[in-house]
Point group: C2
Chain length 243, copies 2
Amino acid sequence: MSDAVSGSDLARLAALIGDPARANMLLALMGGRALTAGELAAQAGVAAPTASGHLARLAEGRLVAVERQGRHRYYRLAGPEVAELVHQLMGAAALGPRRYRPPGPRDAALRLARSCYDHLAGRLALALVDALVAQDRLAMSAGNFTLTGTGRAFFETLGVALDAAPGTRRPLCRACLDWSERRPHLAGRLGTALHHRLIAQRWLEPVPGSRALRITHVGETGLVAAFGLPRDWRCEEARPDAA
Amino acid sequence: MSDAVSGSDLARLAALIGDPARANMLLALMGGRALTAGELAAQAGVAAPTASGHLARLAEGRLVAVERQGRHRYYRLAGPEVAELVHQLMGAAALGPRRYRPPGPRDAALRLARSCYDHLAGRLALALVDALVAQDRLAMSAGNFTLTGTGRAFFETLGVALDAAPGTRRPLCRACLDWSERRPHLAGRLGTALHHRLIAQRWLEPVPGSRALRITHVGETGLVAAFGLPRDWRCEEARPDAA
DNA sequence: CTGACGCTTCGGCTACGGCCGAAAGGTCGG
DNA sequence: CCGACCTTTCGGCCGTAGCCGAAGCGTCAG
């Protein structure tokens, strides 16, 4: 009551996400790219009219934004807050009822490197974090990352923009739990800027129709050289049982 | 899909929260205290059998935990993760469709000081944060708090336990948006420890049947002295239009 | 101008989920 | 040991929301 948000407000928002078709659409949009209504209908496994209704409701609830382009309508997540929200829900969903699906050799490319709305995820993201921490460019403490002084200089020479637009509440560093690897990787403004930079200089390139990111040939060597990745960074995590 | 969480998992969780009766129950439990099934039924505005069904589903979804005590059954949130999740949803719900209810003179006690699951909220929480930042015991940067060296010493002399149980992922400091005041206050392990400490030494005491916290007489002077609160900390935020 | 295509609106069907009253466990008090 | 109380289970009612086919707009291509 005295709180600005009532139970029915909370319920309305959660119910909006709480339909399988809509949830699948949001998940599909978590790749960060805008998709057409048709693509989203296919992703959600429903007919076009059904999808249209769902998308209208998502737009009315400000979870997605729409942009007309010719005879297509491109839908995308309304902003980073929405991506974060969905992400947190996914984390909680993975924890709750024991549904820890073992890694599973589903799509190796996705597990290696993918975009998570606006930043990197997958083993590459974890290897980068590990290397940054090892070289004291990033500090990891109690579930949060912080950028060190040397780290700041490092990213600036790399051409990664660090300054926030004035009035930005979004933190520079955020830890984002990697579902496939179960360890935190780097999100926040720095995560976004790094993601953009690596794509802009074509070390990574998006794979059409997927959230996976391909590591280009120059990227291969560039990443290892610039970040000091270990030679075996592509391997699965060192597992105690593998000894 | 290759991610550990599928759309239907996400939907199942969100739909669980997405019912008005269940949402109201979760909200009522955000105070941090365990409530009986009957109390929750009243809070949600449904009959006992209906509430029982909802609670069973919440428990099965691991959002609440139940504890039998005589002929009562006490329900509480399953953990800090759940509180955080609900909190984030409330933040998003407040933002989305413009439903910014002006502060409203609803319950002055709640706006002054209340518990937010396991930490403090309300004007007191904000005044504490402001004072801690002003005295360089807490640093605020880009939406996150960090504890300074002097701050660490300060809290230790205050008797606030800072060390984490081994293997804890929960961050020491987290910013938690205060709905009634629209500014971040202190959550995380430090927020919890501070909350406990202030209640343990009876500077604050819970108001039965409410999330409000009463400031005791010794607390009144103790808080101002220990934290260096300004004399007018109880006043509403300095508003530009008040000049 | 006309046909193809993408998307939305409309109308009707169906089913799932919330709701309650009645009755059945348990648990405590006299 | 019996009655009062809290909670859950059961059974049936009802409304809402999801779903699709058909038809209606807008846009692009030839």
